[in-house]
Amino acid sequence: MSDMVDARGLSCPQPVLMTMEKINKVKKGEITVLVDTDTSRENVSRAATSQGWKVKKINPEGAGYRIMIWKK
């Protein structure tokens, strides 16, 4: 069971802020981030990468995306 961030419906920079908060909390492992716009998808991926996390998978879900990021 991975950690989950539900940032659907939230505007900039909330999805990134929430993802960063979770990254700082769990330090490593897998986080699933739900977003509803392409902007948020790009921003969250970019932020995760900048923190040394890998974007493992991005799947469309509903009107948005399920982003899985991962760090050893």
Binding site: G9, S11, V16, M18, M20, T37, R46
Partner: protein, 362 residues
């Protein structure tokens, strides 16, 4: 491939550079000084064209703004990114839009124009830029403290279409009631005979540039407020590289076009009251930060289906009405009779919003 490029650093830099070339060119083709593109000024001119204020020198239905929204709509559909959504504190966005406009009109320009003024040698814009950064910095403190506007919901396609339809309607009005030489009214639309509202590039050129910028900016998420916000909040330079490209390229283009005139005094559509150039933009910067986007970005979001961004735009246009009807907007002579009071009230209201909207997200 194309999608990847636009999301990349070179993507955002190329869009900043595109605006840096075409804004000074629009000025050469007829737009006012250091105002090739100014989202705040142009929305204010639209408010004047509609008669929402009756400041005779700033009345013109600016096709650039129409192009921004429609270009973003086209790009959103081309790349399957049109997502109708709404319902994230619309009234707050309206009020933030109105005060963002009032702050911008005390300075005489939105962030885009602040940068274009800088690139044209108007050193008064330095105070404006410092104010903008200061306002955004205050906004990041609220964001760090948990400020948010709540969630938007997915909604009917027609909700996302309303702002583009309004813009199409404005365009139709322009065709139905074109400017008549020497007349201040044509049908229902008001026009300026003198002043900045009388200065404009030809309609189709302005519309074309607007559409191109709308398409490119929708793809790259170009945002002049986000540039500084992300730098302060995350030490991220992605959006920032876009605005740097804008300023540098606009400066070079101005040099080539002989539009670079350094100094403080006698700058076009500008005043020299440093403190209020600063103060006006603190208010605008804070309002943009609390609303999540600069005025350009709000237009692009409105074009891709964001009904809340559309409400912000309507707030800005309404704010322009207040700004001129109440004597809040500045002129080249200095601040308006009630401009200072409006900046203070606006800051208090932004602080009220920032401090009170900290509820945990469900």
């Amino acid at each position: 491939m194309i999608r990847k490029f636009f999301a990349s650093r070179w993507g955002i830099i190329s869009v900043g550079a595109f605006i840096g070339v075409f804004a000074p060119l629009l000025q050469k083709w007829g737009n006012p000084g250091n105002m090739g593109i100014c989202v705040a000024c142009f929305e204010r001119d639209i408010a004047g064209a509609l008669g929402l204020h009756r400041a005779a020198v700033v009345q013109y239905m600016r096709p650039e703004i129409i192009g921004f929204v429609l270009g973003a709509l086209i790009a959103a559909y081309l790349f399957k990114e049109f997502r109708p959504r709404a319902g994230s504190a619309p009234i707050v966005r309206f009020v933030l839009g109105a005060f963002a406009m009032i702050g911008a009109l005390v300075f005489l320009g939105c962030p885009w124009r602040a940068m274009l003024r800088l690139a044209g040698g108007d050193w008064n814009a330095i105070f404006g830029m410092l104010g903008l950064i200061g306002g955004i910095w205050i906004g990041t403190l609220f964001l760090r403290g948990g400020y948010n506007l709540g969630r938007a919901q997915e909604t009917h396609t027609s909700v996302g279409w309303l702002m583009p339809l309004i813009m199409l309607g404005f365009l139709c009005l322009m065709f139905l009631y074109p400017q008549v030489e020497g007349q201040d009214k044509s049908g229902v639309l008001f026009y300026s005979i003198k002043g900045p509202g009388a200065l404009h590039a030809p309609l189709f050129i302005a519309l074309g540039v607007g559409l191109a910028v709308g398409i490119l900016a929708q793809r790259t998420r170009f945002c002049t407020m986000g540039a500084f916000r992300d730098l302060i909040l995350f030490r991220q330079t992605h959006l920032f590289s876009g605005v740097v490209a804008l300023v540098v390229v606009a400066f070079i283009t101005n040099l080539i076009l002989k539009q670079f005139h350094p100094g403080f005094a006698n700058q076009p559509v500008a005043h020299t009251m440093g403190l209020w150039n600063f103060g006006g933009m603190v208010l605008a910067g804070l309002a943009f930060a609390l609303a999540g986007g600069c005025p350009g970005r709000q237009l692009f979001l409105a074009g891709e289906g964001d009904g809340d961004a559309a409400v912000f735009v309507l707030g800005m246009i309404t704010g322009a009405g207040f700004a001129h009807n109440f004597g809040l907007a500045s002129s080249p002579k200095g601040v308006g009779p009630h401009g200072i009071a409006a900046v203070i009230i606006g800051l208090l209201i932004c602080l009220f919003i920032g401090f009170t909207m900290k509820k945990k997200i469900a």
